[in-house]
């Protein structure tokens, strides 16, 4: 019986040099070193070689949304470890560590905001939180984002960054693939556009669910987008992998994405798409939320966990 370890990408499956993990401010491709604030200002794109560093959820939102326009929802949801899962380390401890390290409740942040003046719902994943793995909270929050879009009659933009499903929630994690696909189907019923943005990496259960179903699907340069990771494919098939296996430009060539968009152009591209789609969007069925004055990042982090979950 050929038993195959299939389908799930994870943190350690990135075949690129691991220097970046050792020093997050050194470019893994050309070894250029940056100050932390410098890298933020560069949108975490290497000035020398164009390498796109991983971007966290809050920083991504700051890169994309009009200042102060983003209002987070469902921020209080937390993974609950129903299986009381322990491998070399307890899942509960992994969660605590991840929350301490990132200041995030889980691997996705959802809410509503404006991009280039156009209102949209947003769901942004964070690879730094357990490899952006999708468990119950990620699925629920993606569904909340879809609800927000429907309630407000606005599009949904999802920025994926994920090694796949979260093994520690096993079958519940798998079910999030169906749950998130149905969240997109709900948007389709409501005739609302869904824009999927795939960043490095978008693999496993995430690329095989909502992230693949964009009305428009964009990818960042050199992002890995495959269902099985390169190592799994190599080990299973003994085939020689193409050098650009699963990378976003290969996906463009193979017909799986609409465009590869450099990060410097991503906000403008999304703004343009929202404007293009705008004529089709039904009038909001509930009034738009009042726009808060732009809080500082510190304020936003401080207020984050106090805000209750809202489902539109």
């Amino acid at each position: 019986m050929a038993e195959i370890s299939v389908n799930i990408q994870r943190d350690g499956d990135d075949p690129r040099p691991t220097t970046a993990r050792k020093d997050p401010n050194t470019c893994p491709t050309c070894r250029s070193h940056y100050r932390a604030d410098e890298l933020v200002a560069l949108l975490r794109v290497c000035r020398q070689c164009g390498h796109h560093f991983v971007v966290g959820a809050r920083e991504r939102i700051a890169q994309l949304c009009d200042p102060g326009s983003f209002v987070e929802h469902a921020a209080d949801l937390r993974s609950a470890d129903p299986l009381a899962f322990i491998d070399l380390k307890a899942y509960a401890d992994r969660l605590t560590d991840a929350e301490l390290a990132t200041g995030l409740g889980d691997a996705i942040t959802v809410g509503v905001g404006t991009i280039g003046g156009s209102p949209t719902a947003l769901a942004v994943m964070d690879f730094g939180f357990l490899g952006g793995s999708m468990g119950s909270v990620v699925g629920e929050k993606l569904a909340v984002a879809s609800d927000l879009a429907v309630a407000r009659g606005v599009p949904l933009i999802a920025v994926a960054a994920s090694g796949g499903a979260r093994m520690q929630e096993n079958i519940l994690a798998l079910m999030q693939m169906a749950k998130t696909v149905m969240a997109i189907d709900q948007l389709r019923d409501a005739r609302l556009p869904f824009i999927s943005v795939c960043t490095h990496p978008t693999t496993g259960g995430v690329i095989a669910s909502f992230a693949a179903l964009g009305d428009v699907t964009l990818a960042e340069p050199d992002a890995l987008m495959s269902f099985a990771g390169p190592r799994v494919v190599q080990d299973t098939t003994k085939e020689r992998l193409p050098d650009d296996f699963g990378r976003s430009h290969a996906n463009l060539r193979l017909g799986h994405v609409d465009a590869v968009v450099p990060r410097s152009e991503l906000a403008a591209t999304l703004a343009r798409l929202l404007r293009l789609f705008a004529g089709s969007i039904p009038e909001p069925v509930v009034p738009a939320p009042p726009r808060a004055a732009p809080p500082s990042l510190g304020q936003r982090l401080a207020s984050l966990f106090r805000r209750g979950a809202s489902r539109g």
Binding site: M1, A2, E3, I4, S5, V6, N7, I8, L77, R78, S79, A80, P82, L83, A84, F85, L88, L95, L100, A101, G103, G105, S136, G139, A165, R166, M167, Q168, E169, N170, I171, L172, L174, M175, Q176, M177, A178, K179, V181, M182, I207, A208, S209, F210, A212, L213, S226, F227, A228, V233, T236, T237, F245, G246, L254, H256, L301, A302, L304, A309
Partner: protein, 300 residues
Amino acid sequence: MVRVTDEVRRLRRRFQERGEESQIWDAVLLARHTSRPYTLDYVGGLFSDFYELHGDRAFADDPAIVAGIGTYHGRPVVCVGNQKGRDTVEERIRRNFGMARPEGYRKAIRAFELADRLGFPVLTFVDTPGAYPGVGAEERGQAGMIASSILAMARLEVPVIATVIGEGGSGGALALAVGDRVLMQENAIYSVISPEGCASILWKDAAQARKAAYAFRPTAASCLDLGVIDAVVAEPSGGAHKDHERAIRLVDVAISAALDEVLALAPRDRRLARRAKFRRMGVWGTAEPDTTASGLAAER
């Protein structure tokens, strides 16, 4: 730090109390038993006639998934299932050990759409280690086709009864398992990754598969507790491979009952109920009110 619900506590207690470890590994072995009834065995046993459809109308016919039109208790149905090869090495290879390529899922989608168009209920049988992780399969859009198959099932207005009859492995299994009712045989397994895959990632050692299986509980009982499946279908004592006929009869009774329930709904209600059911899946808690991010951020 996380406020968990009574439901989560109940689940954890139940899992701790069960002491089901040996049963778990037995199920893994039984689910993979090479004499276990496969999809085409159920097709032969459940349908008075069956005509197999072939091809994805785009690239190939994938023998790792079978699809066709059957007569089930006098009613036309569409049947789609993963298919492992039996008996010879050639046949196992031809069926690719039940691991489908995008063409297989595209064929499944074609069958789903045919069912919806003609008003036939859909019965699926899930039995795969996972979708095939090959270069060509990836290049031809394995991920997107799995997503599309899930979406196609989500959109069906006809009844959908999915039965996990062996290995329910990962997205490759879920792509055929989005049912109004999801049934699972007593010794079948259903998981986000194989125990070996889980062990190799989390324990850095595929040989720790048994340990991984204990930890992530791919069993029918666990799936039922977690609200992922709707019913566990009993097997003949010793496992379904001991008595195919009886195993098939037990599955028949369970599918019939489930189908009757689902047929009672109006088509559009059926689809929305399916969506609502999957929307409920997942278990989570909320942050304790006194745990603030600023506090956490300060610790960094």
